[in-house]
């Protein structure tokens, strides 16, 4: 594991309107890591992801990506720096074809090259079959693969993955977890994962932050992740 820090937040407060959801949050992610963020519903996990990509404004504190403070940048500029965001609920462009969705993903890097497209299709062969189909007609699992492929095509250094297992059949969840691990091995891409599915967290994450009420309240190592009792307590299931 390399030592360079890819992403860090310090005292991050962010949210909508008057009351911040994140209340002074510190995390640190090293290059090449897969780090999970867990916690009960409503503790601010998705808000964290949105504020990292810039869809929720930071009120206070810093977000550093690579060696660049990005908390003042708008979302599209952060994306152009190399952050790929796969949102909760996937948010594929429903009336664009699969191919067009991939093309939009590649726009920040200019045009999608043949090689990049083939690489993505190598990981997600189903997308080739559905290439000219409207994304809105895909199943949930296929949409999730498209959403990941869509950020992958632009070669991001960091992928923010928000609840990828939501509403998806267990076998596809396992596929996605496997592919993400493979990707991480192949390309060294850093991943921040918000997830509630314990299987998926264990399959993917090397480390894990536990959030409560807008703050990080604990950190689990890989060994900690294996401890079922602790996990269930933190997820409050």
């Amino acid at each position: 594991m390399r030592k360079e820090i890819m992403l860090s937040t310090l005292g991050l407060r962010a949210g909508y309107g008057g009351k911040p959801v994140l209340q002074g949050l510190d995390i640190e992610v090293r290059q090449g890591e897969i780090v999970a963020v867990i916690g009960r519903n409503g503790v601010g996990k998705s808000t964290l992801m949105k504020s990292l990509i810039g869809l929720v404004p930071a009120m206070e504190g810093s977000i550093v990506f690579g060696d660049k403070p990005v908390e003042q940048l708008s979302a599209f500029k952060r994306a152009r720096l190399g952050i790929g965001y796969v949102p909760q609920g996937r948010d594929v462009f429903p009336r664009l074809t699969v191919g067009e969705n991939i093309a939009v993903g590649g726009m920040r890097a200019g045009r999608v090259t043949e090689a990049d497209r083939e690489r993505v299709l190598g990981y997600f062969p189903i997308l080739r079959e559905r290439w000219s189909q409207r994304a809105g007609t895909l199943s949930g699992g296929q949409q999730q693969q498209l959403a990941i492929g869509r950020v992958l095509v632009a070669n991001p250094q960091l992928i923010l993955l928000d609840e990828p297992s939501e509403g998806i059949q267990p076998n596809i969840v396992q596929d996605i977890a496997r592919i993400m691990v493979q990707l991480n091995k192949d390309t060294g891409v850093t991943v921040v994962l918000v997830e509630q599915n314990i299987d998926m967290i264990r399959a993917m994450a090397q480390r894990c932050y536990v959030m409560d009420k807008g703050r990080v309240v604990a950190e689990l190592t890989r060994e900690g992740l294996a401890d079922g009792e602790a996990m269930r307590r933190h997820l409050a299931v």
Partner: protein, 290 residues
């Protein structure tokens, strides 16, 4: 009169109405479809295009080029308006209507003050031709062709160009488009400018056929509104079919009872359509969720 000339006459009336509806509405539809903004200054962008076209023509510029200049100037004004005003109001659609209405007042009255109550126009080019006992204006056929060209052009722009795909992505899921590196503000500015430019094009195209007065925009806007409301948010699935349906209504009513009846027919059509298909024709075709 034989069946052939009768059919031609009906087709000509339909084509004329269709062209007018498409050209009046497409700029409004692009802006509404993309941003959910109803631009009440739409008529004034049309007026702007007409005035610029005629001024350029008076200055010796050939008419086709003059029309193009008219459209470009309108687009430019549109971009400025977007940056100064519209941009700040995206989350307040009703206020956007109110603000663009303020603009409409300013433009209309401003034009009246600066350029006076009327402007000498240019004659309708190309002359006319006869079929059977009636004579028809050739320029109307050109307008008809232009309407079809505009639809095809917009289709190509939104489906085959980088900007088009970006723009469609931005309408569908704006926050996600931003998160994928698209400068959505720029896309909105360009789209508004495109809508304004299309309005200017309509103005330029119709300038040779009508008297230029500062309030000429009102001639277009009711038709434009009705087409957009009936069509719904999608330019291709909505505006074009809506224009076709409404053109039949308008041409029929107009040829039977005169122009006013045509407009009343349109209004009845819109009230009925809105009652049956609240999201317009394109909403029905797409059967969007919720």
């Amino acid at each position: 009169m034989d069946v052939g000339t009768l059919a031609f006459s009906a087709l000509y009336q339909f084509g004329d109405a269709f062209a007018f509806l498409v050209l009046s509405a497409c700029g409004l539809a692009v802006i509404f479809g993309m941003m959910g903004v109803i631009n009440l200054a739409h008529g004034e962008f049309i007026m702007c295009g007409a005035y610029v076209t005629v001024s350029a023509a008076h200055a010796g510029v050939p008419l086709p080029l003059a029309i193009l200049i008219g459209a470009l100037v309108s687009a430019l004004v549109g971009a400025v308006v977007e940056i100064l005003i519209i941009r700040h109001l995206y989350d307040r659609p009703l206020d956007t209507i109110v603000a663009t209405w303020g603009l409409s007042l300013i433009f209309t009255q401003g034009t009246l003050i600066v350029l006076g109550s009327t402007m000498t126009g240019v004659g309708t080019p190309f002359g006319s031709f006869t079929v059977g006992d009636y004579s028809y204006s050739l320029y109307r056929l050109v307008l008809c062709g232009m309407a079809v060209l505009v639809i095809i052009g917009l289709y190509a722009l939104f489906n085959w160009t980088r900007f088009g795909v970006m723009a469609r992505a931005t309408i569908q899921v704006p926050h996600m488009a931003a998160a994928l590196g698209i400068d959505t503000r720029l896309v909105y500015s360009l789209t508004f400018a495109l809508g304004a430019g299309l309005a200017g094009l309509a103005g330029g195209l119709y300038a040779p056929t009508m008297t230029l007065v500062p309030t000429m925009g009102t001639t277009f806007i009711m038709e434009a509104f009705v087409t957009v409301v009936v069509g719904g948010a999608d330019v291709f699935l909505g505006t074009a079919p809506a224009a076709a349906v409404l053109a039949v209504v308008k041409a029929t009513m107009t040829s039977w009872y005169g122009q006013l009846a045509g407009q009343i027919g349109l209004l009845m059509a819109v009230i009925i359509v809105i009652r049956v298909l609240p999201r317009g024709i394109s909403g029905f075709l797409l059967r969007e969720r919720a």
